[in-house]
């Protein structure tokens, strides 16, 4: 990775230029590692590197201090070129205590740098996580480049001018570590100082203490002999098209996408939601934007959350509910009602590990079949799945487009990895956003044989099969809708067998006919059937690691085609054709093969399913070797 050694940086120390770096901050849940990682990411974004992040934290708010289950970590990968994943293995591990070292060491390759807070390596703390001896002294870390730094002592020393107890002062050690890493990687510091002043606006003395610790960390790097080298990673300017960029997490992008959709549709946004990890951040974010006319309703339960959203949709709002898998289970009956009422509604599922409560803070893609089929009766619902954190923005707008144009509930399937991960995002001009405006029904749409003009709530648009959206307050269009089967056209209750058969098929045909773009295959060697023999097909958040793995194979001379599904219901019209054009199709998923099952059933093609349910994203290296194997088999 090291390419150059001659840049001057702050005095006489060596400066090396790297093309990419992966840093993992790890500590106790209470050590502020997520904040530290966020700040480092923010500094990195403002420098213009490409980046990708992976927060990883326990479901417990404060697990017992110093234990393995209490370890919280944040990995950030940044580069001077276009990157796709938070990285497989850290180049630098910051371990704030023995538990953090023990929990993360297996991921750290030999030769990597490890920065440890020696103050925490006491006999008691070591024993708590089952270390027999002190790894800092017994040679077990000899294969690594270890920096032994008494972070707590140095922080307390730096803050001795403040009226703080040792314990209070020690809490700023994460900022000391951030300062040190900021020096090591030439990160700009002004934004972090501004951030700290605003975060502690009500307690200026704490703001100053944290800034002092932060600066002390920086100065420590500059002065101590232990850190002889600092590193530069140049901006990734050439990797990005021209434009204005910011860093954005999936949940933030998703919340912004919902607000943008409401503006593009000129409809008020109504969110009915119940707090659940990892979806709550969308509720929090939308709650902050009432000046956009956004109504957020924290309901008594998951069912009321979607119920209120559906009620608001009946009244002409863009209704949204946000949740995770367990919440989807509770909302199923109301989703079925929305299918029957044919009203627009967005169901945002930020998937997490299951079944049941499962792994609330970890990622998984195992709700696909739940979204696809998890309702009584034939109740088809479109499914849109973003591939990257930033893509959550456009996916939200696209899900709204489908819901509004086709008068249907739509699933937006994100996951914990996309939700909390972040990457640079080119901020779109508002003029680039689509027009989602709808026409509410305003008058009769049907003439009876006797010439009377009437309004039929279930008379459909011929092109989309959507029914009219007539909102209360519109004179003359008073009508009743419900979950009981309706007569085609009039919408009156009907138990007629032929009518039910017709209505079931019509609702299915409406979803099948949704306009989704054809699948585009990436294969430098030619169009489907003429280039690679192996196709890798993914969906959702596996995009990053799949693409990174495909690039590795191509760099090594291998031939592989890649494509990614954004619409899982309906599938793109050319999907069957694409699948049949390849000798072998590999589908990696963070479940036990749910998409593979759907593809086999629908297209009768052989699919090699690659699955992982560890609660963590795939690693590029692991996928690359699986693809290699598939290539070997295909030969």
């Amino acid at each position: 990775m090291t390419t150059e050694v001659d840049q001057a940086h702050l005095g006489s120390k060596d400066v090396r230029r790297l093309d990419r770096v992966i840093i993992r901050f790890a500590g106790d849940s209470g050590d502020g590692m997520q904040l530290t990682g966020d700040r480092f990411t923010s500094e990195t974004a403002s420098l213009g590197n490409d980046l990708s992040t992976l927060p990883n934290f326990p479901a417990e708010i404060r697990a017992p201090a110093g234990t393995l289950p209490g370890v919280s970590s944040f990995q950030v990968h940044f580069a001077d070129h276009d990157i796709l994943t938070p990285g497989d293995a850290p180049d630098v591990l910051v371990a704030m205590n023995p538990a953090a070292l023990k929990a993360n060491l297996a991921d750290v390759p030999r030769g990597a740098e490890i920065i440890v807070n020696t103050d925490e390596f006491t006999t008691r703390a070591l024993a708590k996580v089952g270390y027999d001896g002190n790894p800092l002294e017994n040679g077990s870390l000899d294969a690594y480049s270890v920096h032994r730094v008494p972070l707590t002592t140095l922080t307390v020393e730096a803050l001795k001018g403040f009226d703080l107890t040792r314990k209070e002062a020690g809490r700023s050690k994460n900022m000391f570590a951030l300062g040190l890493l900021s020096w090591m990687y030439h990160r700009p510091t002004a934004n972090t100082e501004r951030f700290l002043r605003s975060k502690f606006a009500k307690r200026p003395e704490l703001a100053e203490a944290n800034i002092t610790a932060f600066r002390a960390g920086w100065n420590f790097g500059e002065t101590t002999e232990d850190f002889a080298v600092s590193y530069e990673v140049a901006p990734a300017a050439s990797a990005f098209p021209a434009g204005t960029y910011r860093n954005i997490s999936g949940n933030l992008a998703l919340a912004y996408g919902l607000i943008a959709a409401s503006q593009c549709a000129d409809l008020p946004l109504f969110l009915g939601s119940y707090p659940i990890t990892p979806a709550s951040d969308v509720l929090h974010e939308l709650s902050r934007h009432k000046n956009f006319g956004v109504r957020t309703f924290q309901a008594e339960d998951e069912i009321a959350g979607i119920g209120a959203a559906l009620g608001a949709a009946f009244g002409g709002a863009l209704g949204v509910t946000t949740t995770s898998g367990p919440g989807v289970a509770l909302k199923s009956e109301t989703i079925g009602l929305a299918v029957s009422l044919e009203l627009p509604l967005l169901i945002v599922d930020i998937q997490r590990g299951g079944p049941s409560t499962g792994l609330p803070t970890k990622t998984e893609q195992a709700d696909l079949l739940q979204a696809m089929y998890g309702r009584n009766g034939e109740a088809p619902v479109p499914i849109v799945a973003p591939a990257t954190p930033a893509e959550c923005f456009t996916a939200a707008i696209d899900a709204a487009r489908i819901a509004l144009a086709y008068r249907t509930p739509v699933f937006l399937l994100s996951d914990g990895y996309l939700a909390n991960g972040s990457e640079p995002w080119r901020v779109p001009e508002t003029g680039e956003l689509p027009d989602l405006r709808v026409r509410f029904a305003t008058g009769p749409n049907h003439t009876l044989p006797d010439g009377t003009e009437v309004f039929w709530p279930y008379k459909r648009d011929e092109a989309t099969l959507a029914r009219p959206w007539a909102v209360p307050g519109t004179p003359g269009l008073e009508h009743r809708i419900g979950g009981i089967e309706k007569q085609d056209g009039t919408g009156n209750i009907s138990y007629d067998p032929a009518n039910h058969d017709h209505m079931v098929r019509t609702r299915q045909a409406k979803i099948d006919g949704i306009d989704v773009p054809d699948l585009v295959v990436d294969d430098p060697e030619g169009p489907p059937g003429e280039g690679a023999k192996l196709l890798v097909l993914g969906w959702g958040s596996t995009y990053g690691p799949i693409t990174a793995a495909v690039r590795r194979i191509r760099r090594a001379g291998g031939s592989v085609a890649q494509t990614h599904l954004r619409s899982l219901n309906p599938f793109p019209k050319n999907l069957g054709e694409v699948l049949r054009a390849y000798d072998r199709v590999v589908v990696p998923e963070m479940n036990l093969g749910q998409l593979a099952t759907l593809l086999r059933a629908k297209y009768l093609v052989d699919i090699r399913s690659l699955t992982q349910v560890t609660g963590l994203p795939f690693k590029a290296e692991q996928l690359a070797s699986a693809f290699e194997e598939a290539l070997d088999d295909a030969r």
Binding site: S42, P241, A242, N291, R295, G307, A317, E478
Partner: protein, 364 residues
């Protein structure tokens, strides 16, 4: 939200934001073209007729009226009203109506529900709608039985009820719907009877005028699966002793008249327990009789009144408005926050929001 929470834009009345009808209406205007399909003799017919008959009084544009229901016999109600309507799913009507009312303050939203729908499968939504004080008029048809599923006991059935699902008698203690509503911070709680058109209409009128959640329990006879369940309060002879008609500002009296022409029985507070007890006015005198105050800030007396009736015989059943107090409605507070947000930060600008505070530029 405490009762004294400020309503920024001044006091509102229940229907002040709902457009009025351009011309006088009649009951016929509120009848839909759908054939009513309840069992002949069902108490629901009387309630439907009373509601259709009373609606023109409100003089609202009927396109701004919405009836939302759950599942059960009574929940077919919206199909028969020529207004907007939604027949939703079991128990969820208060949640759906909450979203509709919160999104659209120009609508008059009514919920029609039953004892199973509101108190069993939908109990959670009912209590939360009441505590939020969403501007909904909730008509709870209580027939103390599951009718649509053909006769199982309900959460208001008397203990020991013999039904298809409880051949040896039901085991559970029933809910008292009004006690539950009062415990859930309801701002308006009333009870009436399907067959007493005049009283029913009076209570509907009071509910419609109330700004916030109004819970109206309607004793409704299921002549197929629980016929005569409310005979004690309906039969003219027995009703005189069984029914206590609550009138705001009047001493609570009932029964065969005393010398002064008012009810021979009265309600007093037992100084030892604080409970309400019934006394003979001739013996006790009129001193110390409880004067009904529906607007009392504390729900204590209303709660005591809700406990007065014998749950099995329905002897001493108060009807009328138990409680009607002013409290800000949820959707008004929500609308105020939206206005405040615009006042404080200006109308949201999408481009500014998307850009955030921390951007960098890549030149082309």
């Amino acid at each position: 939200m405490p009762a004294e929470a400020p309503i920024k834009t001044g006091p509102r009345t229940a229907l002040s934001l709902v457009p009025t009808a351009e011309k006088p209406q009649s009951a016929k205007d509120f009848k839909s073209d759908q054939e009513v399909r309840w069992c002949p003799g069902c108490g629901d017919y009387a309630v439907l007729a009373a509601v259709q008959g009373f609606m023109p009084e409100l003089g609202l544009a009927k396109e701004n009226i919405v009836f939302v229901s759950g599942i059960g016999c009574s929940s077919r109600f919206p199909y028969y009203m020529n207004t907007y309507g939604m027949h939703s799913i079991h128990g969820r009507a208060p949640a759906i109506a909450t979203g509709l009312a919160a999104a659209r303050r120009d609508l008059s939203v009514w919920v029609v529900t039953g004892d199973g729908d509101a108190l069993s499968i939908g109990g959670n939504h009912l209590i939360h709608a009441l505590r939020r004080n969403v501007n909904l008029k909730i008509l709870l048809f209580n027939n103390r039985i599951y009718g649509l599923t053909k006769g199982q006991y309900s959460p208001t059935s008397e203990p020991g009820k013999i039904t298809k699902s409880t051949p040896m008698g039901s085991l559970d203690t029933p809910f008292n719907p009004l006690s539950l509503a009062l415990g859930a911070e309801a701002s308006f709680v009333a009870r009436t009877i399907d067959s007493d058109r005049k009283h029913l209409t009076g209570v509907l009128r009071a509910a419609a005028a109330h700004h916030g959640s109004a819970l109206v329990e309607i004793y409704q006879n299921c002549n197929i699966f629980n016929d005569g369940a409310f005979e004690a309060v309906k039969d003219k002879q027995r009703a005189q002793e069984a029914v206590i008609r609550l009138e705001h500002g009047e001493p609570i009296r009932f029964g065969a008249p005393a010398d002064d022409g008012l009810g021979g029985k009265g309600v007093v507070r037992d100084p030892a327990s604080g409970d309400l007890v019934v006394v003979d006015v001739a013996e006790h005198g009129t001193e110390g009789l409880v004067v009904h105050d529906a607007h009392a800030a504390s729900p204590t007396t209303a709660f005591a009144l809700s406990r007065l009736a014998d749950p099995v015989t329905l002897h001493r059943t108060p009807i009328g408005v138990f409680r009607s107090v002013r409290r800000p409605a949820y959707e008004d507070l929500l609308a105020d926050q939206l206005e405040q947000a615009v006042e404080q930060r200006g109308k949201g600008d999408l481009a500014t929001l998307l850009a955030g505070n921390d951007t960098w530029t890549v030149a082309g």
